[in-house]
């Protein structure tokens, strides 16, 4: 019981802080907070695939890009309505994930990782090369944030960063809530089982391939959401989003925070962005320190930051009987 109250309090606190940020901080902090949340959405959805199901994909940047470009094309050619644009981005990402996933999920571990890498880079080079449609290296530009309208009655402006912040925040909270529900659902338990012992899952009567495809598409959709939100934030969609090094971000971040937890990817995103900003002031080689941190975590603290915090919290609570 104590645990539940503690976590509810903590969640409320964090939410309160998030809500207050635009009111008390400067523009740059607001921007940073938005980037943290975008990375958080990307990572928390991705972690359903990696931490929960045990599948390592190096191609999720492709879905992020699909979300961004999907949203971009929708805005440029169809309609300026932001929510519909986001939906278009998510749909584009999910469809692409369905297509790519279909080929990839029948293979395991290493081959799965390499296939996703290959497909991801194919998407990257495709976007990069088809200059006429996608704008090539420059990407799509000029995506503006039009106000959100509901049947012409309500008009919510999101042009200013501080206003857009709240849209991102709401979708962020929604995304995290969805992932949480999935984790505690029967579906989530099956995913964990697939991670723990794939062979046994077959013998439990589970069609492992279908579940893998489902979670692949799901995590792709989250990537698409993050991508379309970034497209509106930066007014631009770039091919680099599909590059494998970008696909590596949610992996690093989830590991950093804690692979098997819900909050791990979120904490990881925060640390990642914070480190990048702060350490960059002192040295150009912040990546070096990031590499060291990563090394330390893999060698000794595989539960990630959240894992370490939990261990400390348990020690602080003192030994319980027996």
């Amino acid at each position: 019981m104590k645990n539940r109250i503690a976590s509810i309090l903590l969640t409320t606190l964090v939410l309160a802080v998030l809500v207050c940020i635009p009111l008390v901080s400067g523009r740059f902090t607001v921007y940073l907070a938005m980037r943290v949340m975008l990375l958080g959405i990307f990572a928390v959805g991705y972690n359903l695939l990696l931490g929960q199901t045990g599948l390592l994909s190096f191609g999720h940047g492709a879905f992020y890009a699909a979300g961004a470009y999907g949203m971009g094309f929708f805005w440029l050619h169809l309609s300026p309505h932001p929510l519909l644009g986001i939906a278009a981005g998510i749909l584009a990402a999910a469809l692409l994930a369905l297509l790519i996933g279909f080929f990839c999920v029948r293979h395991t571990e290493i081959y799965f990782a390499m296939l996703t890498l290959a497909f991801g880079m194919m998407v990257f080079s495709l976007i990069w090369n088809v200059r006429g449609i996608t704008g090539g290296d420059d990407g799509l530009v000029g995506i503006m944030r039009d106000p959100i309208t509901f049947f012409g009655l309500v008009k919510i402006p999101i042009q200013k960063d501080t206003q857009y912040y709240y849209l991102i925040l709401s979708l962020f909270v929604l995304a995290v809530w969805v992932v949480r529900r999935i984790r505690i659902s029967p579906f989530g338990l099956v995913l964990a089982g697939i991670r723990e012992n794939t062979r046994r899952m077959e013998f439990a009567g589970v069609s492992v391939r279908n579940y893998r495809l489902a979670v692949f598409v799901l995590s792709g959709a989250f990537a698409g959401l993050a991508g379309s939100l970034e497209a509106m934030l930066e007014s631009n969609a770039r091919p680099f989003m599909a590059h494998w090094t970008h696909s590596g971000d949610p992996i690093l971040v989830s590991l950093l925070g804690g692979l098997h937890t819900l909050t791990g990817p979120l904490v990881g995103s925060l640390i990642f962005v914070a480190m990048r900003e702060i350490v960059q002031r002192f040295t150009e080689n912040w990546m070096l320190w990031f590499g060291v941190v990563l090394l330390v975590i893999i060698m000794g603290f595989r539960g990630g930051v959240v894992g370490v915090v939990r261990q400390l919290a348990e020690k602080a609570r003192g030994p319980r009987g027996g």
Binding site: L56, M121, I298
Partner: protein, 273 residues
Amino acid sequence: MFIWLVASGLTLIFGVLGVLNFAHGSFYMLGAYFCFTVLRHLGANFWIGLLLGPLFVCAVGYVVERFFLRRVYHLALPYQLLLTFAFVLIFDNLVKIVWGAGSLSPPKLDIFGGAVPILGRKFPAYNLFIIAVGPLVALGLGLMIDKTWWGRIIRAASSDREMASALGVRVPVLFTSVFVFGCWLGAIGGGLAAPYVGIMTPGMGETIIIEAFIVAVIGGLGSLKGAFLGALIIGVLSAFGTRYFPTFDMFLIFILMAAVLLWRPQGLFGGAR
């Protein structure tokens, strides 16, 4: 041909240890930088540089395997990959710190004295040297794997780790030696590549690793023959592609990789893995 050297190290490490060494590109880069430093500071000639430089890299590789990689063999794939990736970050940035972030030019080499006329066109002698080195190394490796005692143990250990251990092979030592040897191959590749390419940058590791990776996959992870052939295929395709489909060559290469993975995951020559 440099891709072949790097790919051979990569595929060897994967075949025996089962680890995909992301950091292999970094060893390639370190090879180039170390060779260059030896040349600069010891004023020695190219061959000595080529001899000593990779040895330093081997030392680095030894530390990496012995103290870090060895501890994570029993863990799941993501951890191993991320460990090697962490080293990529560390090495790339260390290089930036020690040698500067800009590009460096290795000293001009006159060992082979300029161009050699063949079939009416002039080829830089160095290029011919490189082209010759490739098959030579391949031959050497092949002989080593087939004929020597060490080679036999490698083959045994890669097909059945537990059995080899039960038979008295000291698997950890074997793994270390294979890893270090793989690093040596990569480093030699770097040392040879630097004069050819003309410049060295801290980013050279990243570009080569993906290419080496693709080559290894297409040829079959774990198969040296495959890597060699893969490098040839990719080399030819690249040249072909750049002439006729200038913007799509990357795309084609990745399609080939995906196709191989889908229909023949063992690659062209790999065994059942």
